[in-house]
């Protein structure tokens, strides 16, 4: 597991793990994505923001293999790849935590973590090694789950998010894609999930964070990529972007000459 390796320095000094270039995706008469590019480096959190209908979900589904792009290239660890489906994405090392978490409420934490990737001894499930590994994963995330033998239904929203994120790590991924991980959470639980995101980054994983919440994005991301109407609208380094600039890029107010100038000057200085 990557997680056992010593933490690499943060903020995207590593090489590009996943890069998409010139992605086009069209649904009937709707051009959902036009010439979109996105790069994630090891040990970097890239936030993907945009208004409703900006193409975030479509891009997430292209990366996680649910949709095939009509045109464009996807490179994983500098090799061109075709993401054939959700299973293919997992095999490559791209793990996705969907917004609805996709947990089985009737199963306990261990069963959910290893669903589809159960450890076995001969024909039987190896509960002991799965439970050990579950505790190890949760500990690397410093996650607060009192017991891994309780049904997921009895966990709080933040704990369920934790389980979902821990599950994405079972296949030893290089890139974790989080779709709106803080959408339904309270203040403290949001902070806990943001801590988890930072821990993923500190362990050298590339993280793509899709979010509506500007405060969360600015708190945890290294770079912010803004999509608008299916195109790359802007890209910021977090420490250089103000909330006003972000909002302008998201809503499209930045398409006026003054805002474009301001954005260009920001980039030149950066």
């Amino acid at each position: 597991m990557t997680l056992t390796a010593p933490p690499t320095p943060a903020s995207g000094t590593g090489e590009a793990v996943l890069s998409l270039a010139g992605i086009h995706k069209r649904f009937g008469a709707v051009q959902a994505l036009t010439d979109v590019s996105l790069t994630v480096r090891a040990g970097e959190v890239v936030a993907l923001v945009g208004d409703n209908g900006a193409g975030k979900s479509t891009l997430v589904k292209v990366i996680s293999g649910v949709y095939q792009p009509d045109a464009g290239t996807i490179e994983f660890e500098s090799r061109p790849v075709v993401v054939g489906g959700p299973a293919g994405a997992q095999e490559l090392g791209i793990a996705t935590v969907f917004q609805d978490l996709a947990l089985c409420d009737n199963l306990d934490v261990v069963a959910n973590l290893f669903l589809g990737k159960e450890h076995r001894r001969g024909p039987l499930l190896d509960e002991v090694s799965m439970e050990q590994e579950a505790w190890r994963l949760l500990r690397t995330l410093s996650a607060k789950i009192p017991s891994v033998r309780i049904p997921v239904a009895s966990l709080s929203g933040g704990q369920r998010q934790t389980v979902a994120i821990a599950r994405s790590l079972v296949g030893d991924p290089r890139v974790v894609l989080l779709d709106e991980p803080t959408a339904a959470l309270g203040v403290a639980q949001t902070a806990e999930v943001l801590n988890l995101v930072e821990r993923l980054r500190d362990h050298g994983l590339g993280v793509i964070l899709v979010s509506h919440n500007m405060a969360d994005v600015q708190a945890v991301a290294d770079r912010i990529v803004v999509l608008r109407l299916g195109r790359n609208a802007a890209e910021f380094r977090t420490e250089e972007a103000t909330t006003d600039q972000l909002v302008a890029a998201i809503t499209g107010a930045s398409d006026n000459v003054v805002a474009q100038r301001a954005a260009r000057r920001t980039e030149e200085r950066g």
């Binding site: 299973a87 069963a111 669903l115 024909p123 439970e131 505790w135 607060k144 789950i145 049904p151």
Partner: protein
């Protein structure tokens, strides 16, 4: 002092919020908490069985005589085997209403091949089970590929296979000779005392051995092992209970082969459900199909295996019922086999909503229904009362399931 204690705590017992069970009193309190939270498990059906037995025993002491228990266990077995298949399908949140007709039709296929056409018994059994497997496959294709709800295609199957039974048995009924191997197996074969006690010893040894092995492995892995005393007590209760039952049944004819086959199927299915990847995936699909699909579970195959297993078990139950009655007639499996099997699975505590239940549900449920039937027969009550009582018990069981479900969701137990 506290610090050293904390540092040696097992990995899974380290969280301070976890309520640890150390003394026997703690275990009792935790059990009580589970029940109040709606996690009833087998408790209602066990209680129900005890009450039913007590009532009938008070009225007619021969109800619990050795002879009566032996025949009750024998007659419960064929429908119980069908109910096992229903449990598997219910775990997915689906239903198979056609198990009764399938059981009758498959038994008729066997009887025609063996009795009318004079082929060997094994060929007949294989053909009947094969027909069952084909029916299950057809159901799976309808469900997975076409998307027909299981309620609809199994209702169609209920009618179609009843028709097929009439068509196969154009000349009325077929008698299965009493001396044929199958009839002997279902009616006249019993374990000797020595065999029975040896079997009990093997069962207890397997249970104890596997639990001790678990204790060792979990301790080695730094996890809380099961409580050794509790394991020993359970093993003693298991051995004592089975040993006493063996002694008591031994006063009459003892354990019938058919009863032992049913019990073995229950144990095997229970292990398959709890300890294998297949069983885990069955629960997962029943709990949240979309989540299971995204996690890489082959949902289509899971449905297919469940429907095939259900139909094959229905065929097996039908064969054994026919062997027990030494005949296949035009109303084999048509009268109340269907609903008894489904009722048994539900009464035993399998949830109709999917994702919750166990193989033992079929065993306990069929014991409840069989004791009601035998008890009312002993009291010379007509079958009209029996149907009404069975209906009442079924309604009670589903009510308990629904109330427990509400209690579970309010106490966060899923």
């Amino acid at each position: 002092m506290t610090a050293t204690k904390e540092s040696v705590a097992a990995t899974d017992a380290a969280d301070e919020r976890l309520i640890r069970a150390v003394s026997p009193g703690d275990y009792l309190r935790q059990g009580w908490g589970r029940i109040r939270g709606g996690d009833l498990g087998m408790l209602p059906v066990v209680l129900g069985l005890v009450i039913i037995c007590a009532v009938f025993y008070a009225y007619e002491p021969t109800f619990l005589s050795s002879r009566s228990l032996v025949s009750m266990l024998l007659y419960a077995a064929p429908t119980g085997i069908i109910a096992l298949g229903i449990v598997v399908v219910l775990l997915l949140g689906e239903i198979d209403l056609s198990v009764g007709s399938v059981s009758g039709f498959c038994a008729a296929v066997m009887a025609v091949i063996v009795v009318d056409q004079g082929h060997s018994l094994w060929l007949g059994i294989a053909a009947a089970l094969g027909v069952g497997a084909l029916i299950g496959t057809a159901y799976a294709v309808l469900h997975v590929r076409v998307g027909v709800p299981s309620f609809v295609f199994s209702l169609a199957g209920l009618l179609a296979f009843e028709g097929a039974l009439l068509w196969v048995l154009a000349d009325g009924s077929i008698n299965i000779p009493r001396e044929s191997g199958l009839a002997q197996f279902a009616r006249n074969k019993f374990l000797t005392d020595a065999q029975a006690y040896a079997l009990v010893a093997v069962v207890v040894a397997c249970y104890l051995g596997s639990r001790l092995w678990t204790i060792r492995r979990r301790r080695a892995a730094g996890l809380t092992p099961p409580n050794l005393l509790a394991v020993l007590i359970k093993a003693a209760l298991l051995g004592g209970g089975l040993g006493w039952l063996t002694y008591y049944l031994g006063i009459a004819r003892g354990w019938g082969y058919l009863t032992v086959l049913f019990a073995a199927l229950v144990v095997v299915l229970d292990l398959l459900l709890r300890k294998t990847r297949w069983g885990r995936h069955l629960f997962a699909v029943g709990g949240n199909e979309e989540a299971a699909r995204r996690a890489g579970v082959r949902v289509g195959w899971t449905y297919c295996s469940a429907f095939v297993l259900c139909s094959v078990l229905a065929a097996l139950g039908g064969l054994l019922a026919a062997a027990q009655l030494t005949s296949v007639s035009q109303d084999s499996g048509t009268t109340d086999t269907n609903l008894t099997a489904i009722a048994a699975a539900v009464i035993g505590g399998t949830s109709l909503f999917g994702g919750r239940g166990s193989a033992y549900a079929a065993l306990l449920g069929i014991l409840v229904l069989q004791s009601i039937e035998s008890g009312l027969n002993l009291m010379n009550v007509d079958s009209d009362v029996r149907y009404i009582v069975t209906g009442g018990v079924l309604l009670l069981a589903v009510t308990i399931d629904s109330v427990a479900r509400r209690a579970r969701s309010s106490s966060g137990r899923g």
